[in-house]
Symmetry: C4
Subunit: 207 residues, 4 copies
Amino acid sequence: MRSLYNRVAGQNLERLAALSDGVFAVAMTLLVLDLRAPAAETIHSEHDLLTALLALAPRLVTYLMSFLTLGIFWLGQQAQLDRLERSDRDLAWIHIAFLCAVTLVPFSTALLAEHIAYRVALIVYWVNILLLGLLLLWTWRHAVRAKLIRDDTAPDVVAAICRRIIIAQALYAFGAALCVVNSYWSIAFIVLIQINYAVAPPWPSRR
Amino acid sequence: MRSLYNRVAGQNLERLAALSDGVFAVAMTLLVLDLRAPAAETIHSEHDLLTALLALAPRLVTYLMSFLTLGIFWLGQQAQLDRLERSDRDLAWIHIAFLCAVTLVPFSTALLAEHIAYRVALIVYWVNILLLGLLLLWTWRHAVRAKLIRDDTAPDVVAAICRRIIIAQALYAFGAALCVVNSYWSIAFIVLIQINYAVAPPWPSRR
Amino acid sequence: MRSLYNRVAGQNLERLAALSDGVFAVAMTLLVLDLRAPAAETIHSEHDLLTALLALAPRLVTYLMSFLTLGIFWLGQQAQLDRLERSDRDLAWIHIAFLCAVTLVPFSTALLAEHIAYRVALIVYWVNILLLGLLLLWTWRHAVRAKLIRDDTAPDVVAAICRRIIIAQALYAFGAALCVVNSYWSIAFIVLIQINYAVAPPWPSRR
Amino acid sequence: MRSLYNRVAGQNLERLAALSDGVFAVAMTLLVLDLRAPAAETIHSEHDLLTALLALAPRLVTYLMSFLTLGIFWLGQQAQLDRLERSDRDLAWIHIAFLCAVTLVPFSTALLAEHIAYRVALIVYWVNILLLGLLLLWTWRHAVRAKLIRDDTAPDVVAAICRRIIIAQALYAFGAALCVVNSYWSIAFIVLIQINYAVAPPWPSRR
């Protein structure tokens, strides 16, 4: 039996959505703090500056990869919250845990940018993506179980959202496993998955 | 007697909620700035990187503890604002003072992470939580006194919200007092309280 | 004659309010970055840590002063936007200029915190407050002239908002002028004005 | 044929607007982090402090220029989203890419502030503005093609928004090209264009 407070708290979906948008917006913008302009003392010609900028390329790649990650998961949680009729306290807490994983993205991105050749950095990055996926799946499962979903949601949409997360996570896990070969292979594969999800080419699909 | 301006200002609950969501979102994301990726110069092998990451563990604990704190108080203020019919200037100012205490959380977290063994750091952290609780209680008391609460709010909900804050603060105070023994005991106890509030196990409760 | 684009742009009051809430939320939270936890290497006892924290006191004063400033001007712009029926492109731009002055507050606060005894720092801080006041006054004057204000707004509310800004700015200017004596006098006086506006004691007032 | 998930995701215009407002708010406020208060150790008199502040002038110019840029593009995307009836997944992704270009503005601003005399820095800054313009144009073109625009939008408004972006980008490109002479000429010209768009003087215009 739940206490009275717990039945009152966490019911406002708009507030939860607003908190999410805020956390995503800050996390997306903090990513750029890893792109530091080269210091004036080290630059003595146009050529120096160009070289220094080209040296930033790996950081730009991890930056874009993380922006894609955040974009994909922003769309994911937005699609979920849109389908909800109401929230409850547990859903609010699972979603806050999801936002916690979102705020870790700037850290795991900085780690990967600084140590792009090391497998440990890649595994940490992948664990972050895995956490995002699991928490999103948990949110959805809880919403189904607690009957928080809007009545006009077709059962195949409910299933499509679950399937989507599981397939994506399987692909990410395969990408991460590629680091047995080389961590650059992993990054390349993960970026390809992400671009596929962002561009969403009209592959022939069963549905 | 209040001046005309003071009767006009601070009446918009949606704007107050939006400011709160923004402050919480930024504070939650700034917490992660304390988790700094180890510099590339100091790392020469996978093993070095793993060791450096494990050395971040205490910071990760304070990070998660503070995220829990912010989550708990975000839910607290959201549950309160949801019950209000309208706002007034005084409520807006008490809430802004509450947000001020929220912005101090990244500072007191960084202090605790840097000096985890010192009691002074723990006391500062606890004072921050105490301030959050007192200001939340003050908001609610003012809302009751100034008749800002929605008519459909049962009197036992009004009491439940007060009781909730007072019990939680009593537990936090006990946790902080444990630092007479050792500041790690305090941290462990405070984290347990927070997890209890977040997970909200269905203890048999009177209501 | 205005171009077609200029007649279409900037009409959404909710978006302008959301941008404002975001900028205020970030500025309020960035203020705390000036409160840096003392580094672990410099602290060897509870007493060291306490001394180091007490040395942060001037920064805490400027932090609280700036939080009060941002709170006062957040309430000011919120009270104005609440009274508007609609927006236009010019109002949007004046408000964006106001937000630009808001984002300067963390800078002028850091400057004052670092150089609290210097008049130049105090004058910069005051110019920032002056800019905020002038831009708020300009927003309101433009709203009156362009008939953007809601019909149910009594003429004395229109006048009260103008009067409020002008009186406050006169007091701030007097406070800043006190730096001829000593910049601490200025700060004390400005803090007193701000607390007066925040607490809004029920002085007998003509209206 | 689109998968079911892709037909469900990205339809919420309010959430997209909220994410945009958050990203713009953070980017606008992060700009100020480049304005660093001079360190206390280097300042020994009022005159020292004044000199140090005057030395910040170039950074203040790039700061204001970038704030203008962000203001112009915030108004641009707000005017577009306001005209939409609904969103789809592709529009959401194009808009997220636009927000990615927005988060790069603090980086390219810092680069220009640090290396104001170098053409490379200016070209990077211009590429950032170009990206913003192209993505805004792409959003609009997609909205037209996918029939996402509100029915009450006159065809000349649709055309006016496109024309506006193209003319502005032509002017920016000319400004950037001026760096063949000198990068200060470019900056001066770009600032003039921006002030023109912000102030929007009532030139006689065909429409």
